[in-house]
């Protein structure tokens, strides 16, 4: 246990809480402002993955959510992509 944590305000101060809330909010706000944002990412992901596999473009899902980071309970923004694979390509050894 970190004894010094008790004496430092760093983690519990309301300013830190405000900052964390803002960061999370802005990730979502900025992504949602542009309806094309997720579309653009999707297009580029397809490009990248096509070098290695054939993917089912219709079944592809991509969304912005939240997830837990490591062991802590803190939620961080996360980009979740669901990319169904039709067939792997032969990769050069």
């Amino acid at each position: 246990m970190d004894i010094f944590k008790i004496f430092t305000r760093e983690d519990s101060s309301s300013k830190e809480v405000a900052k964390e809330r803002l960061r999370l909010l802005l990730v979502h706000d900025r992504a949602n402002v542009s309806p094309h944002f997720l579309e653009m990412i999707k297009e580029e992901l397809i490009q990248v993955f096509s070098d290695y596999m054939e993917i089912e473009e219709e079944g592809m899902e991509i969304e912005l959510t939240r997830t837990k980071l490591g062991k802590s309970d803190a939620l961080v923004p996360a980009l979740i992509a669901n990319i169904p694979i039709k067939r792997m390509k032969h990769l050069p050894k």
Binding site: K15, A18, K19, L22, L26
Partner: protein, 265 residues
């Protein structure tokens, strides 16, 4: 070259009107020819903050509709050499003016003034679009609160989209005592999150309330800290390199103790 600067925030009540009144007066004190344009149609209050409410005959909508000449609607603030106010209409809808008309109006004002400062209404709807239409510079006002910074971020995005580049930030109502305790976001926090250039920091100051009561911008009160901050901002707008002022609470008992024990100079 004259500049059209819109002062905007997204969130209401963060200090746009106060900022326009003080910076406008500040620039006039620096011998610039300044007009304050109240774009908050239906909820005008720049006239009251400036103490000019009893002199209004015509307003912005009258000018746009051709009911009067632009010159007739401009109210000269006699306390200063070259400071004018173009009041908003109080009884009209925001839609009484179009962005094209605002742009035309700003272009006309540019011929006669060094600075045209536009007081933008809260929100991102019609009134906002009108206020930014004729502007070539933007000042974003925020307070150290989550909702205000969030809205500021939204406005930054909208300004980028409407090709009004490089907005600058004014942080208003900062309380250094709370920042010290870790109970208020500090300047660096907000700059980092919003990633825009800082124009100035205005402390929470009860002199703002007093000056607003009297209709005399705090900038003309030498004892007001907020006034000092606005004086610095005005000089920065004029291109001077003015360092941020020391916002620490002076003369408080703890401060004096620290100074006494040599913990602080």
């Amino acid at each position: 070259m004259s500049k059209v600067i819109v002062v905007t925030s997204g969130k209401g009540g963060v200090g746009k009107t106060t900022t326009v009144a003080n910076i406008g007066t500040g620039l006039a004190l620096l011998n610039k020819k300044v007009v304050l344009l109240d774009a908050d149609i239906g909820l005008r209050n720049l006239d009251v903050v400036m103490g000019l409410e009893n002199r209004i005959v015509y307003d912005l909508v009258d000018v746009v509709e051709g009911i009067c000449k632009l010159r007739q609607a401009l109210i000269r603030d006699k306390r200063f050499e070259e400071l004018y106010l173009l009041p908003a209409a109080q009884t009209k809808e925001k839609t009484a003016v179009t962005p094209e008309q605002m742009k035309e109006l700003c272009d006309k004002l540019k011929q006669d003034f060094d600075y045209i400062l536009i007081d933008c209404p809260a929100g991102i709807e019609h009134g906002f679009k009108n206020a930014v239409a004729g502007a070539d510079n933007a000042i974003i006002v925020t307070t150290p609160e989550v909702a205000a910074v969030r809205d500021a971020d939204r406005i930054i995005g909208l300004l980028e989209a409407s090709e009004l580049p490089g907005p600058k930030l004014v942080i208003n109502r900062l309380r250094s005592d709370m920042v010290k305790k870790g109970d208020m976001m500090d300047i660096e926090d907000m700059i980092e999150i919003l990633a825009i250039e800082l124009l100035g920091v205005v402390p929470e100051d009860e002199k703002i309330v007093i000056s607003t009561n009297k209709g005399e911008p705090a900038i003309s009160d030498p004892a007001s800290k907020a006034g000092q901050a606005f004086r610095n901002i005005s000089r920065r707008i004029e291109g001077e390199d003015v360092p941020l002022m020391n916002l620490e609470v002076e003369n408080s008992f703890m401060e004096r103790l620290k100074i006494f024990f040599g913990l602080k100079r």
